[in-house]
């Protein structure tokens, strides 16, 4: 299966949406994109605290991580109930 391009497109889209939604400054956006490219999105959310970006930007990324984690737990719980 040719997943490479699908994966790349999906990853680019996620990073683009995340930077736009979190209103990151240009410098932070570049750091986030580089980190995602290097580690992947899931790893990124586990290690974003290491990035040299503003604290308020980290707070917003952290908020997004909480929402993602809650959604994933909700799905797991619902799947378990089925």
């Amino acid at each position: 299966m040719r997943t490479g391009l699908v994966k790349k497109t999906a990853e680019d889209r996620v990073v683009e949406l995340m930077c736009n939604m979190l209103e990151l400054c240009e410098a932070s956006e570049a750091l986030v994109k580089a980190a995602v490219q290097e580690k992947g999105v899931k790893e990124f959310f586990d290690s974003f605290e290491e990035l040299a970006i503003e604290d308020n930007e980290k707070e917003r990324i952290k908020a997004l991580k909480v929402v993602i984690d809650t959604k994933e737990q909700e799905i797991l719980l619902m799947e378990g109930a089925e």
Partner: protein
């Protein structure tokens, strides 16, 4: 664990930080409802324009993140329901605000994606589809099933008569080859509809295959009620918009 226990103060605070919706409103709504419903039905918290925009962005992000997870968790993306397919195509098409794009997923016999191709990209209300191109790609992929998807930049998820006609034409071409058209997903903004789910997906070949290019027009120009195609297209018939 109860689902409600998942929605902690930290979660509400995060939702507030990302959308600007006051905590009190989110908590009030969450008392009797799933707080994620706010993303699908934002008016329940009476958002300002800015908050509405932020809710839309968060919803779009979560849909895209979900697709990315699907691609990372498994080497194969498999559609098991219209909901899966809708979430997948919605994340690929919901950013297309100024033009129409038609995608086809070529699937194996377990409905896992072999390949996804853009087969047409047009203006805000029209794109041209060349059925013979789809046929060539399907044969190259040796697929068992195909799934169609396109967006309506106008935002409606209702299939237009042209959408139904196009789907019928594709069914006509593929049925004799034992390749099933299993669904046609229509994405409008952050929502989607499935022709298989709403009963408008043609399942039988009704005519000789017709390989002429076909114009696909956005539904906002055609607001009539949809019904199954009754008339059969002839080989020489052009569909005028």
């Amino acid at each position: 664990m109860e689902t409600k226990e998942l929605y902690t103060d930290s979660f509400f605070k995060s939702l507030n930080k990302l959308t600007g919706i006051p905590m009190s409103k989110i908590k009030d709504y969450a008392r009797d409802n799933n707080p994620f419903n706010i993303l699908d039905h934002p008016m329940v918290v009476e958002p300002s324009d800015r908050q509405l925009e932020k809710i839309g962005k968060l919803k779009e992000f979560l849909a895209s993140y979900n697709v990315l997870k699907m691609t990372q968790d498994s080497e194969k993306i498999r559609f098991t329901s219209p909901k899966d397919a809708g979430a997948y195509f919605s994340s690929l098409l919901n950013n297309m605000k100024d033009k129409e794009r038609v995608l086809i997923a070529f699937l194996d016999n377990s409905n896992s994606i072999i390949e996804v191709k853009t087969i047409s990209e047009g203006s805000t209300n029209m794109s041209v589809v060349y059925p013979r191109d789809i046929l060539k790609m399907a044969l190259a992929n040796d697929c068992s099933n195909i799934m169609m998807a396109h967006n309506h930049p106008g935002g409606s998820t209702r299939p237009s008569q042209e959408d139904i006609d196009l789907t019928q034409r594709i069914v006509n071409i593929f049925k004799p080859l034992d390749i099933n058209v299993i669904d046609h997903i229509i994405v409008g903004g952050y929502s989607f509809s499935s022709m298989a789910e709403n009963g408008t997906l043609p399942s039988k070949s009704m005519d000789l295959a017709n390989y002429k290019p076909m114009n696909l027009t956005d539904v906002h120009d055609h607001q009539g009620t949809y019904e199954m195609q009754k008339d059969v297209l002839s080989l020489d018939e052009d569909l005028e918009i």
